[in-house]
Symmetry: D2
């Protein structure tokens, strides 16, 4: 494709201006009070499942691991009440720790969501489109799509981009119709694949990330359904990208044009097991970023309640 | 009181062994599937409210502010897809940023919750009772108690410890009976007080923290009701402590003996306004710590859904 | 003064182009092999004195204190050889920890030393004029000028900017003629002043830094003598600045125009005592920054040998 | 060897008590005023060479790389004087960044240098034997021993521990007799080896470090000569250790028993080239740690002046 064709593809799914020039929440606007109250009715068994992980282990895919430093431990003198304390250092983006991307995380052709110039993401923080737009968190219906079930394999092959057709089939298997305001979680089976191929199997020979995810054909599919949030145990893009002029089309299409926030590197195995056991792939879903004023994202531990 | 009397007071509310010698969740065990499903029925209006704050401003009460460092901003060359990224550094304990305390945060007489020795909280992290016990987060009924309404003032006077009688009166005003598995949130009106007295007003002349909270008399009250979680816009203890031999009796009583997790420094003004407007002080409540394997707590952004 | 006059004042002391368009070392070029060998002959008594301090204490003038986190302490099991380790976090600039400024630390009218645009100091680090230019450190003659001796007081009054005349008088008292390649250290007696007025005395009522230092009149004086490095126990500028259109004229004049590196917040009391005892205010001086590839400065512990 | 034999070997080189029970400087006590003044006379050509490196690149041997975060870059509005600033995060120990070990870095059988218990290295920092003992830095004669020249190879084979005999031969080639108060620098040719085998060549198949260094037989040799400081471009121990009951005998012998500080991961290629060109392997040597009050070491950029 030419660069112009790429642009046109993005513009075809654009929501710029749809909720006004000052909007910073994108498709989260579709999570109406009614969507929330209906989502709460999905709580049936009272099973609560965390979907986040913190990766503290250095590896080829985790060059800046989450750091945990003790500041005071149990070896200090106790004065009526011993106190332990610590320090957490997290570079949330990358391929390891569960995090949510703010819109300011990605730009295309010098523009962020709703047309703001990339220059507003400054060395002292993002002046617009920061994670602070999610200070109230997100509570809505969550849907788990199980891609390995589509393939009939324990995990989705990263070399095969997930297409709109695959998503259709996964939704059919889940027995749920994704719609406006939904948090859509794509399980690619990264953990079973890692058990087989190790962390090293998530890199190509030339050092690129090698992770299963949708290709650009999924963008219109996501746009048509007006989902509010996209998550995955992978990186929400087929990596390395099969598109020559598009790098991470889901990241660009969702964060820059559609205004859909992304959650990368989720822990979905427990949720998958619970949904399978319950025979039900929809649930109440909550994610609550740390509301740093000018950050490009936040580590998160999303919660599903069945 | 003598040291022995202090110990007896704590032991009177102890839950050590109640859920087995290996238990690391304390009163979270009381959040049964039924408690969760009933909590979900409290969602009526679909109003979602974040109750967390990140304090990035150095001050006399915030000596180690949360740090936000940009690693890549909008000034870098863009290669088909511009990427911004950052680093977050957080020492969650203290009097400023909203955080949840793991049981290993506090010990008394060399012991943590369920009798584990403080020596298990090592310089490389807590071997037991860490925040990882909350990897699935907490979802339950939340109750907001408005202490300033009890006093008929815009905020509770930090010089006056909150007693069991005050809590009774606040529960009565809220029209809710706290019970097993509840997340109890005590609003002391810290933000209105800060607007009047500034951050400097949260310190005494000798440099101690000066924050409204319950005194030791509240412990049996909390224990009798079997609440699962205690939160506040203050520090969950009357500071400086009016007790000579007890330092932070709520922290010690809850974290060490009762096995009740604490959330300090919450942002409760929005929730208070919404509850007041709705005439309803109970709601669905979710808090999801970052599951660091050996940490003593986590910054959190708790979410209330009315 | 008008903005144009300010610019002219800076341009009058400019060394841009003097050592070529690619030069990144400025007046360090004046430290010839002969300057170094002559400096070594100043070692007479073999007395070695550290002139650096690390400020780990939060205060009104130290909002981001140097952080020291233990990663492994003596409480861990020992395996034939116990190992302790730690993490150091330092934001070197500011008014507390001893540090050296790279040229890229300051720009004026969008330009750095030797005319490079400020845009080359990017969110991923400085592409030019970084501290890496000092990877071999600086070894030269050091001269201590004792300003309080000029005033006949235990410390220099921050309200009174240090002028060229004051510097002349101080050099006369020191019995040394500053010249090309010298490291000139201006003692303003900050530590004795702090003992009297506390750290709080280093701030004005409106929260500005209040530190003794030279005003713009010192620039031609420094330029005429071709010194290579300027250091002080203060901040190397009279703060708050008495100049309306010039903010920190010594920082701008030295780092941007003259190409003179600055060392702020030195510990000069031990050196002052030793020089006074020896009746000699010149010595061998070494400062060796940590050679981060793209940093704007480095914490340092400069060494004087008498 | 039995454990008792290992202990006896260490005790044979012990300097505990030699400079009093409270001594925290070990063999640095041998750097007398006379040693310093004589070292200054070694400055002949005025050539100044930095011997430190900061490793900011994640790798198999650098799991916690030195971090450089910009806090303010050239993209921010300029107010009369643009200011850039940054943050440096360094875990100095390990196999990559040049650092000096404080005595508290290592203990054997629960004891540090001069017999202090390991328990004094607490989670809030070392109460004794910290790097603050080197607040005045170290200035003395430096000697470069070129081990590859002994082998007649471009680098020393890590599989072959360096023995006392090798050190004798290297000193003979250097034409210098190491003696009391010297800083002895052992060049193993790590950089030429890395150019051939890559960073991956510094690990064994099972993930251990694979670095050239002396074995335990070097301890009496070092002790007999009373050197004050030992440095290397490697890790100052043959790794993995050929000794079954001794892990890192040079670290234990030097830091715990002899009281000799160690500098690991030096950059010695420039110094080697300069010494070779000058036909002289002794020089003035300065290293100045950041004087953190309770740290176990410091990143350093040692300086040699020929």
């Amino acid at each position: 494709m030419t660069t112009d064709e790429v642009k046109r593809r993005y513009e075809a799914v654009s929501n710029w201006g749809r909720w006004g020039a000052d909007d910073a929440r994108g498709t989260l606007n579709l999570i109406t009070a009614e969507v929330v109250t209906r989502a709460a009715t999905l709580v049936r068994s009272g099973r609560v499942i965390g979907c986040g992980r913190i990766d503290e282990t250095p590896s080829v895919i985790n060059p800046v691991p989450a750091a945990h430093h003790m500041l005071a431990a149990g070896d200090l003198p106790e004065d009526g009440c011993g106190i332990a304390a610590d320090y957490l250092g997290i570079a949330p983006h990358g391929a390891s720790t569960t995090h949510i991307d703010a819109f300011c995380h990605i730009y295309f052709d010098g523009r962020m969501y709703n047309g703001h110039p990339a220059s507003l993401v400054r060395s002292d923080g993002a002046q617009v489109n920061s994670i602070a737009a999610l200070a109230d968190g997100v509570t809505t219906r969550g849907i788990l799509l199980d891609l390995p079930a589509v393939a009939g394999e324990p995990f989705w092959d990263p070399a095969r981009p997930i297409t709109a057709t695959d998503l259709d089939r996964a939704a059919e298997l889940a027995g749920v119709e994704p719609g406006p305001g939904d948090a859509l979680l794509l399980r690619v089976g990264r953990e079973p694949r890692r058990r087989l191929h190790g962390v090293a199997g998530e890199r190509t020979a030339d050092g690129s990330l090698f992770l299963a995810g949708p290709d650009a054909s999924a963008l219109p599919w996501l746009h048509d359904r007006d989902i509010a949030l996209l998550g995955s145990d992978g990186g929400n893009d087929a990596l390395p990208s099969p598109h020559t002029r598009e790098r991470m089309p889901i990241h660009v299409g969702c964060l820059v044009f559609m205004g859909v926030h992304l959650i990368d590197n989720m822990h979905l195995e427990d949720l998958h097991a619970a949904c399978t056991a319950a025979g039900r792939f929809e649930f109440l879903f909550t994610v609550s970023p740390l509301p740093f004023a000018r950050a490009t994202g936040s580590p998160v531990n999303p919660i599903a309640v069945l």
